[in-house]
Symmetry: C2
Subunit: 208 residues, 2 copies
Amino acid sequence: MALAHKGLESSSIVEGVGFSEKHKLAFSNQELVPVIKDDDMIISDSWDIAVYIEKSYESSTSLFGANNDFNQVKFISSWVDSQLHPLIARCVVRDILDVISPSEHEYFRKSREKRFGRSLEDVVADRKDTRILLKQTLYPIRKALEIGPFLGGDNPNFSDYAIFGAFMWARVTSSFQLLESSDPIYNWRERMLSLYDGLAKKAPSVDI
Amino acid sequence: MALAHKGLESSSIVEGVGFSEKHKLAFSNQELVPVIKDDDMIISDSWDIAVYIEKSYESSTSLFGANNDFNQVKFISSWVDSQLHPLIARCVVRDILDVISPSEHEYFRKSREKRFGRSLEDVVADRKDTRILLKQTLYPIRKALEIGPFLGGDNPNFSDYAIFGAFMWARVTSSFQLLESSDPIYNWRERMLSLYDGLAKKAPSVDI
């Protein structure tokens, strides 16, 4: 989404990285996606990538607003990492088993159950309650959307993409409904799905 | 802080409003502080006041950044209302009894105990645990401050004032230490206290 925002073309050099295929990322000297390669530059981590493409391609629309408002966007993306992502994980983590290769089930289950301290089935057992907590936690997004269609204002910025990334992760791994259709955030998510000729809609999603 | 940011002078028309003195706010047709009166305009609610003075006094430094970034600031101030303020309340609410008039104890205790569903003493009994949760919840502020000295960047904006307001509320009511001095947010709070010739330091605080 950030590349599309900047009007940059990308060609994928790695076609999907399974949990057992971290060797595919060896060129980046670390083990996590996303990674981009731009000529000789290799950058990983969503935030670092966003800052890199912003500073390298200044002439196109800023990812951080006209005022290059890095601090507030960093607040919001860190809120996503620390408060939104864990709640969504508690709703969808079990379903991820159904969309990854069976050969990776054992790794995924072991590593995630260690992180949560209980079985994946136990984590999601009360996900209808988790969803109520999620709805409360999303309150600041709802208030921001009372003012304009995107966190960035009239147009999306990296704050929108950071939040949307968490919802996209759920969309491609689970059919569990995180949002009620009456929630203004539901419509915002629809707007995000429609951006750039429906770019995000093209990602394979779990049938709903 | 918002008035000082805009370089506006203010004179207090109401000298402190106790819980039993809501009649002093009758002119505003509602019962909560803050309220401002600017010629014939009467505006209540921190957010509405900030938007009003921003739009009425456009020539001075913007409260919402050079790009008038209302949406992201609204996200952050709503996060303060919904996630930060309740946690600080769970640390300081009992101490408020010690700084208000004895004649208002009954009203305060009854109304707040109804809200929390338990005695004020019970609410703060585990406040050392609440403080650990507070520290985790403050993570997005800490990350934003890695980039620059204020949420607003090189200078504070209304996001800083909204967060600072929650800390000031604690400062004037309780001696409970919310932050470790090693926390970068502690130094940010010191910077906020020093702004505008130490304006906020002049507010009466509980001796520590």
